[in-house]
Every structure is written in structure tokens, then in C-alpha cells.
Amino acid sequence: MFAATLIVFRESLEAALVIGIVAAATRPIAGRGWWIALGAAAGVAGSVGVAAVAGSISQLAGGSGQEFFTAIVLALAVAMLAWHNIWMASHGRHMAAQARDLGQSLVRGDVALTAIVTAIALTVLREGSETVLFLVGIASSAHSSRSALAVGSLLGLAAGGGAGVLIYAGLVRVPVKRLFVVTGWLILLLAAGMAGQFARVLIQADVLPALASPLWDTSSWMPEDSAVGTLLHALMGYTAQPSATQVLFYFTALGLILVAMRRAQTKPAA
């Protein structure tokens, strides 16, 4: 039962953190709660759909279909998070000022919303389809402890969701003036982590070379399956034994998005 809790917790953690962070990042935008819920619901529905056809997907591209699918989902999510950050870089200050002046009143932010709804849906889809497969495996097995496993899975989901609520609760305490700077950095690190995972799956499919692998090994002092390692993995793509290619993609994405944000910031908001 504990194993089931841990598995579902791990799978739901990243999605919950993404939702918690973008919920804080879009706080002053009118009606954003519904949009976030829509993104999450679309992700859950998509997870079930993907899990249903995942067996067929995995047989594509010479048995590497799963990796290609994950890579596409990750690339789109990175693009959406980057888009959100770039948009916020040009509108964030104005938005913060407006929110402060009007005492938390709501402003329009259609572009940022489109980006985050899609990013949420994609993240939930990626992590969720694995969870669905795990749960289907439990349900179809003749396990005597089936109900205990189901309870364990629910606990894992609750714990993952709880982590999302915690980070949201922490972020809403940040003064609105600084909030967008903090969420901007958090979203930047999420995007970079996903870019690193993008490289990892394509190395696994033998599309990209690993180059030096591992580039470093921090597994003895910060194992990836430790509590802090798990959190750092979900928040910023921490990997104890990454390949050089993965690290290269991580920092290239980080640098490119940062440069685009800086450029957007210097231009006056349209």
C-alpha cells in the first residue's frame, strides 16, 4: 500500500507543483480559477485516453513511440511555459501595479491564460497517463490487497495535491510586487527541467547522443529518490546522474527563455 502511495505521489507531484505555481503567477487575472481547472480536467481526460492507446503508441517508431510522444508533450509544455514568462515579462509590472492600485482587482490576461492552461493540461497528461496505467494494472490484477492499494493510491494523490496547495499558499504570501519575479523564476526552472527531460527521453530512444554520461554523480549525497531529491526533481529537474546532453539542453533552454524575457521587458508593453 505504501508503495502505491509513493508511486502516485511522485507522478502527481510535478503536475501539482506546476498548478500551484501558475495559479499564484496568474492571481490577478480574471476568471483564472476556471481556466486552471479546465486545464487540469483536460489533462486528466487526456491521461485516460492516452493510457488506453499507450500500448499502440509505444510500438511506433521502432518501439520508441513512448519516448517520441513524451518528447513532443515536453517540448510543447516548455514552449507554453516560456510563452507565459515572456508575456509576463512585458506585462507583469503593469499588471502588478494595477492589481496593487485596485486592491487585488482583476485584470485581463488572455495570452498568459492560454499558455498556462495548455501547460497544465500537458503536464497532467504526461504524469497522469502513467498513473492511470499503474492503477489499471492494480485493478486488473487478482491482488488480495487491491482495496488497500486503491486507498494507498488515493493517499498518494492527496499528498501530491497537498504539495501543490502548500506551494500556492506560500507564494500568495509574497507581496504582489515581487510575486511575478518569484513565479517567473520558478516557471523558468520548471521549463528548464522539462527541457532536460526532453533530452533524456530522446537519448533513451537513441535519437540524441548522451555525450559524457553521467556528467556528474551526486547520488551519494542527494539521492533522487530522497524526499528533497524528489522535490528538487519536480521543481527544477534535478537529476543525480545526468548526461552531458541533458545538462546542455537544460541550460540552453534556461538561457534562451531568460534572454527572451529580458528583451520583452525592455520593450514597452503593447
Partner: protein
């Protein structure tokens, strides 16, 4: 289209198969050459899906019920690299030994 991408040709890489039956890997320890890319085939003969998972190898892949999955690993330095089947980790344990 994907199949015609330049990287997706595996002909030259040494290939090793690990069977998964009743949530156990056979062989549970597999010797592979160090310093070269290796193609691992995980042959799941169980009627439930499994997730091949290894922090040491930096790999993670769902292996569907009654099907095979391919995971490329390495080039590895000589050493022992443990892996698990995440969905049944009490029994599904194994290691790749590169030498």
C-alpha cells in the same frame, strides 16, 4: 516519418534481453560491455504493465502487459547499475553490470 530519423537505426548496438515474469527479472543481473551504447529489450510476459526504472542508468520506461520495450543505455563506465520495476518493486529488482 519518425522511423526515418537518422538516430533510429539500431543495427550495430549490442542487444540484451531481460524477461519479466511474475514481477521478477530474468536474468536479474545482466553483464554488458562498458564504453559502448547498449540496447536493452525488456520482455514483459506478465498481464500487467510495469515501469522499468533506474536512477543509476537515468532511465524510465513503461513496459506494457505482454509486450516488449526498448531502452538504450550507456556508454557506461565499468560498474553496477541497479534497476527496478517500479510497480512491483518488492520483487522486480535487477542490475546491469558493465565490464
Amino acid at each position: 516519418m519518425l522511423a526515418s530519423l537518422p538516430g533510429v537505426t539500431y543495427a550495430a548496438d549490442p542487444e540484451f534481453t531481460i524477461q519479466l515474469r511474475e514481477h521478477r527479472f530474468t536474468p536479474s543481473e545482466i553483464k554488458v560491455p562498458a564504453g559502448t551504447k547498449v540496447k536493452l529489450v525488456i520482455d514483459n510476459q506478465d498481464s500487467t504493465p510495469e515501469e522499468f526504472d533506474s536512477f543509476a542508468l537515468n532511465r524510465e520506461k513503461i513496459v506494457f502487459a505482454n509486450s516488449k520495450a526498448i531502452v538504450f543505455i550507456g556508454p557506461l563506465k565499468p560498474g553496477r547499475y541497479e534497476f527496478i520495476g517500479e510497480f512491483n518493486q518488492e520483487s522486480a529488482k535487477g542490475a546491469v553490470v558493465a565490464e
